[in-house]
C-alpha cells in the first residue's frame, strides 16, 4: 500500500444539488405515472420529471467535469486509482444482481409457476384456479385471455436477435482493440475503433427498436400479453436501457479522447466504460440464450 497523500476533496455543492434534483425527478415520475393510470392529464408530474432529469443531467456533467479536472491536475494517486477500480467493480456487481432478480423471475415462472398452474408437478393443485389451462412455454395462451391476451407469435431468435448478438459481441472486440491502441498510444486507432464501437451500439439499439415495433404491431407480443411478454420486455428493456447508457458513456469517452485526454498509463475512465460495455455484452448472451432461444 502506498503512502502517497490520498486526495480528500474540499466541500462540494454537487451532492446536495443532485439529491434535490433526484427528489424532483422521483416525485414527478410518481405523479406522472399515477396521473396517466387515472387518465387525468399529468402535466405537473411531467414538468417535474423533466425539470428533475434536466437538472440532474447538468449536475452530473458539472460533477464529472470536476473529477476529470482533478484527475488531469494530477491530484489522484495510484491508491485513488485503486479506489475507483473497487468502486466500479462493485457497481457492476450491483447491476448483475439487478438483472439476477429478473432472470430469477424468468426461471421461477418457467420452471415452477406455469407448470403448477397447468396442473403439473408438486403444486399442480393450483390448476383448480383455471381448470383446463395448459402449461406451455412460451406461454401463448394465458389463463385469462380476456385480461391478458397472449402473444400470437414470438420472435425468431435467428433473425434480428442473432444479428444483434453478432453486433454486440463484435463491439466488445472493437472496444478491446481501442483499449490496446490506447496503451500503445496510437490515438488515431483509438478514435476509429471507439467510433466503431459506438456505431455498433447504435445499430444494436435501432434493431432492437425495430424488433419492439414488430412485436407490438405484428405479433401481439406486448407488456399486457401475459407473463411471457412481461419477462421478455423487462429483461430486454432494461438491457436496452443499459446499452443506451453504455453507448452514451462510450461517446463521452470518445469526445475526451478527441480532446487529448488519457495517456497509455492513466485512463481508468476508459477502462471503466469498457468494463461496463463487456458487462452489457455478457447480459445479452444470457438473454439470447434464455429469453430468445430456449
Amino acid at each position: 500500500m502506498t503512502t502517497d497523500i490520498y486526495y480528500v476533496p474540499k466541500q462540494s455543492r454537487w451532492p446536495i444539488l443532485a439529491s434535490i434534483a433526484l427528489f424532483i425527478l422521483a416525485y414527478g415520475a410518481a405523479s406522472l405515472i399515477n396521473a396517466l393510470t387515472a387518465g387525468s392529464g399529468g402535466g405537473l408530474g411531467l414538468s417535474l420529471l423533466l425539470t428533475g432529469a434536466f437538472c440532474l443531467g447538468l449536475i452530473l456533467v458539472g460533477w464529472f467535469s470536476n473529477v476529470i479536472h482533478e484527475s488531469r491536475s494530477g491530484l489522484y494517486s495510484a491508491q485513488m486509482d485503486r479506489s475507483y477500480r473497487w468502486g466500479m467493480s462493485w457497481f457492476i456487481f450491483s447491476e448483475v444482481m439487478f438483472f439476477a432478480a429478473f432472470f430469477g423471475t424468468l426461471f421461477y415462472v418457467r420452471m415452477l409457476a406455469v407448470p403448477w398452474l397447468g396442473g403439473e408437478g408438486d403444486k399442480g393443485v393450483s390448476n383448480l384456479l383455471w381448470l383446463g389451462f395448459q402449461a406451455q412455454w412460451p406461454l401463448m395462451i394465458t389463463p385469462d385471455m380476456n385480461a391478458f391476451p397472449g402473444p400470437k407469435e414470438i420472435i425468431d431468435p435467428w433473425h434480428i436477435p442473432f444479428v444483434n448478438t453478432v453486433i454486440l459481441l463484435s463491439s466488445s472486440v472493437t472496444v478491446t482493440i481501442a483499449h490496446k491502441a490506447l496503451k500503445l498510444n496510437r490515438r488515431g486507432h483509438v478514435v476509429g475503433w471507439l467510433l466503431a464501437t459506438i456505431l455498433l451500439g447504435v445499430i444494436f439499439l435501432s434493431l432492437q427498436a425495430i424488433e419492439y415495433v414488430d412485436a407490438y404491431q405484428e405479433m401481439g407480443l406486448t407488456l399486457q400479453a401475459g407473463i411471457y411478454g412481461a419477462t421478455f420486455f423487462i429483461l430486454t428493456g432494461f438491457h436496452g436501457l443499459h446499452v443506451t447508457l453504455g453507448t452514451f458513456m462510450l461517446f463521452v469517452i470518445w469526445l475526451r479522447v478527441l480532446k487529448g485526454h488519457f495517456d497509455p498509463e492513466h485512463h481508468f475512465a476508459f477502462e471503466a466504460v469498457s468494463w461496463y460495455w463487456h458487462f452489457v455484452d455478457v447480459i445479452w448472451v444470457g438473454l439470447f440464450l434464455f429469453v430468445y432461444i430456449f
Binding site: 462540494s12 451532492p15 410518481a30 401475459g226
Partner: protein, 527 residues
C-alpha cells in the same frame, strides 16, 4: 490488537466551514457520520411515535383511537421507517465515524459520494412520509408489501412508495461501495485484514450484503410498478404470473436485509465486551469466519418466511435445514462473547450494560427464531404475535441496543466529554425493563393464536396486550433520556481522555478526544 507505532503529526489544513453549508456541502466523514446519526435518531422517534399509536390502540380490545385503515398505515410506516430510516442509517453513521479512524484512513474513499448517499435519505423520507397526507392514505400493506395487497389492492400512494424505495436503494448501494473501497484500499500500512477491528470486518461483510440485496429490492418494486401501471402480470396468475413469486424475490432481498441490520451490531458488541472485560476478544478468527458464514447462509434461507405459502416438501425441508444451520455460526459468536467475559476484570458502564443485555436478549430472539425455523410448527406460529415478538427481540434489544451501546461507547471520543453515567445507566435500566415488558408477553399472545397486523382482538388476549402497551410507553419515553444525555454530552461534561476507557485498544483510541477534523492525512504505521 493494532498498536500505533509512531504518532504522526496531524496538521489541520482546514477545519469545518461555518454555518449551515458545513452540513450541506461537507465531504468530511465525521460530519456525514453525525448527519446520519441525527437523522436516524429523528426517524427513530417518528417511527417510535407510530409504534406508540399502535400500542395505544391495542391497549384494550375494541376500537378506541385509530381507524383500522390508519392502523394498517401505522404498522406499515413504522416498519419501513425503523428499517430504512432508523437502524440502517444509524449503522452507516457509526461506520462513517469509526471505519476511517479504525483503519487509519484520511477519510472515506469517495467523500463526495458519501455526502450524496446521506442527502438522498431525507428526500426519500419526505416522499415516503408525504404519502400519509395523500388521497387514499399511506401504504397499508405491511412493510413486506406482499402482492396483490401492494399491487391490485394498493392505495394510489404506492407509486410514491416505489420511487422512495428506489432512492433508498441508490443511497444504500453507493454508501456500501464507499465503505468497501475504504476498507479494502485505505487501510494504513501494516493494517492487514486479520488485524481489522471486528466492527470493520462486520461492516465489510454488511456492505457486500447491501450491494447484493438492494438491487433485488429495486427489481421487485419495479415489477410492482409494471404490474400496477403498465399491464404486466408478474404477480397475477391470470396472466401466468404468480403472487408467490413476489414473496420469493422480496425475501431474497429481505433476508440478507435482516442481517444487514444485525451484523454491524455484532461488530459493535465485539468491540465493547473486550474493552470492559479488559481482555482480548476470544476467538477473533472464528468471529470473522462466523460472520462470513452467516452472510453466505443469508442468501439460501429466504423461503423460511414462506413455509405456509404452499411450497413443495423438498423446498420446506431445504429451507428448514439451512435456517437451522445459521444457529451454528451465531452460537459461535455468543460463545465467544461469553468466553471473552469469562474471568475478565469486568466493569459495567452503560455501553457494557447494553452489550451484555444484547448478548442475553438477542439470544432469546435467536432461540425463538430457531422455533420458527421448524417448518411443521411454523404452521402454527406463522403471522402470529410470536413472530412479532421474535423479530422485535432481535431488532430492539438486538440492533437498537447495539447502536445505543456504540453511541455511549464512542460518544466521549467524538465530543471530548464524558456523558452522564448515572443518567446513562438509568436509561439502560428503563429500556431493558421496558423492552421486556413490551415484547415478552407477545410470545404468549402468539402461541395462543393472536394474529399480527390487526387493530382489534378477542377478549382472551386482553391482559397481555395491556401489559405490552404499558411496557411500550416506558420504553418509548425513556428514550428521551438518551436524547437529553447526548445533547448534554455534546454541550459539555467531564473531559474525556484520549483512551477514554481503561481497556480500550486500537487506532481510534490513540488520537485525541475529540479527534481533529481531519485524522490520518498521513497514514499511521500499524505494527
Amino acid at each position: 490488537m493494532a498498536t500505533l507505532d509512531q504518532t504522526v503529526d496531524v496538521h489541520e489544513d482546514h477545519g469545518p466551514a461555518k454555518g449551515i453549508t458545513r452540513w450541506l456541502y461537507t465531504t468530511n466523514h465525521k460530519d456525514i457520520g453525525t448527519l446520519y446519526l441525527w437523522f436516524s435518531l429523528l426517524m427513530f422517534f417518528v417511527g417510535g411515535t407510530m409504534a406508540l399509536a399502535i400500542r395505544a390502540e391495542l391497549f384494550q380490545p375494541g376500537m378506541q383511537l385509530v381507524e383500522p385503515a390508519l392502523f394498517n398505515q401505522m404498522t406499515t410506516m413504522h416498519g419501513l421507517i425503523m428499517v430504512f430510516g432508523a437502524v440502517m442509517p444509524a449503522f452507516v453513521g457509526l461506520a462513517n465515524w469509526m471505519v476511517p479512524m479504525m483503519v487509519g484512513a484520511p477519510d472515506m474513499a469517495f467523500p463526495r459520494l458519501n455526502n450524496w448517499s446521506f442527502w438522498i435519505l431525507p428526500f426519500a423520507f419526505i416522499i415516503l412520509l408525504s404519502t400519509l397526507f395523500m388521497e387514499g392514505g399511506a401504504p397499508d400493506f405491511g412493510w413486506t408489501f406482499y402482492a396483490p395487497l401492494s399491487t391490485t389492492y394498493a392505495p394510489q400512494s404506492v407509486t410514491y412508495f416505489i420511487f422512495a424505495v428506489h432512492m433508498l436503494g441508490i443511497s444504500s448501494i453507493m454508501g456500501a461501495i464507499n465503505i468497501i473501497a475504504t476498507i479494502l484500499n485505505l487501510r494504513a500500512p501494516g493494517m492487514t485484514m486479520m488485524k481489522l477491528p471486528l466492527f470493520v470486518w462486520t461492516w465489510l461483510i454488511t456492505a457486500f450484503l447491501l450491494i447484493a440485496a438492494m438491487p433485488v429490492l429495486a427489481g421487485v418494486v419495479t415489477m410492482m410498478l409494471m404490474d400496477i401501471h403498465f399491464g404486466t402480470s408478474f404477480f397475477n396468475a391470470a396472466g401466468g404470473g404468480d403472487p408467490v413469486l413476489f414473496q420469493h424475490v422480496f425475501w431474497f432481498f429481505a433476508h440478507p436485509e435482516v442481517y444487514i441490520m444485525i451484523l454491524p451490531g455484532f461488530g459493535i458488541i465485539s468491540q465493547i465486551i473486550p474493552t470492559f472485560s479488559r481482555k482480548r476478544l476470544f476467538g477473533y478468527h472464528s468471529m470473522v469466519y462466523a460472520t462470513l458464514s452467516i452472510a453466505f447462509l443469508s442468501f439460501i434461507v429466504w423461503a423460511h418466511h414462506m413455509f405456509t405459502v404452499g411450497m413443495p416438501l423438498a423446498g420446506e425441508l431445504f429451507f428448514m435445514y439451512t435456517t437451522m444451520l445459521i444457529s451454528v455460526p451465531t452460537g459461535v459468536k455468543v460463545f465467544n462473547w461469553v468466553a471473552t467475559m469469562f474471568r475478565g476484570s469486568l466493569t459495567f458502564e452503560t455501553p457494557m450494560l447494553f452489550a451484555v443485555s444484547f448478548v442475553v436478549l438477542f439470544t432469546i430472539g435467536g432461540l425463538s427464531g430457531l422455533m420458527l425455523a421448524i417448518a411443521p410448527v411454523d404452521f402454527q406460529y406463522h403471522d402470529t404475535y410470536f413472530v412479532v415478538a421474535h423479530f422485535h427481540y432481535v431488532l430492539v434489544p438486538g440492533a437498537i441496543f447495539s447502536i445505543m451501546a456504540g453511541v455511549y461507547f464512542w460518544l466521549p471520543k467524538w465530543t471530548g466529554h464524558m456523558y452522564n453515567e448515572r443518567l446513562g445507566q438509568l436509561h439502560f435500566w428503563l429500556s431493558f425493563i421496558g423492552v421486556n415488558i413490551t415484547f415478552f408477553p407477545m410470545h404468549f399472545l402468539g402461541l395462543a393464536g393472536m394474529p399480527r397486523r390487526i387493530s382489534d382482538y378477542a377478549l382472551q388476549f386482553a391482559d397481555f396486550n395491556m401489559v405490552s402497551s404499558v411496557g411500550a410507553f416506558i420504553f418509548g419515553f425513556s428514550q428521551l433520556l438518551f436524547l437529553y444525555n447526548v445533547v448534554q454530552c455534546i454541550r459539555g461534561g467531564r473531559t474525556a481522555t484520549d483512551q477514554v476507557w481503561e481497556g480500550a485498544r486500537g487506532l481510534e483510541w490513540s488520537i485525541s478526544s475529540p479527534p481533529p477534523y481531519h485524522t490520518f492525512t498521513q497514514p499511521p504505521l500499524v505494527k
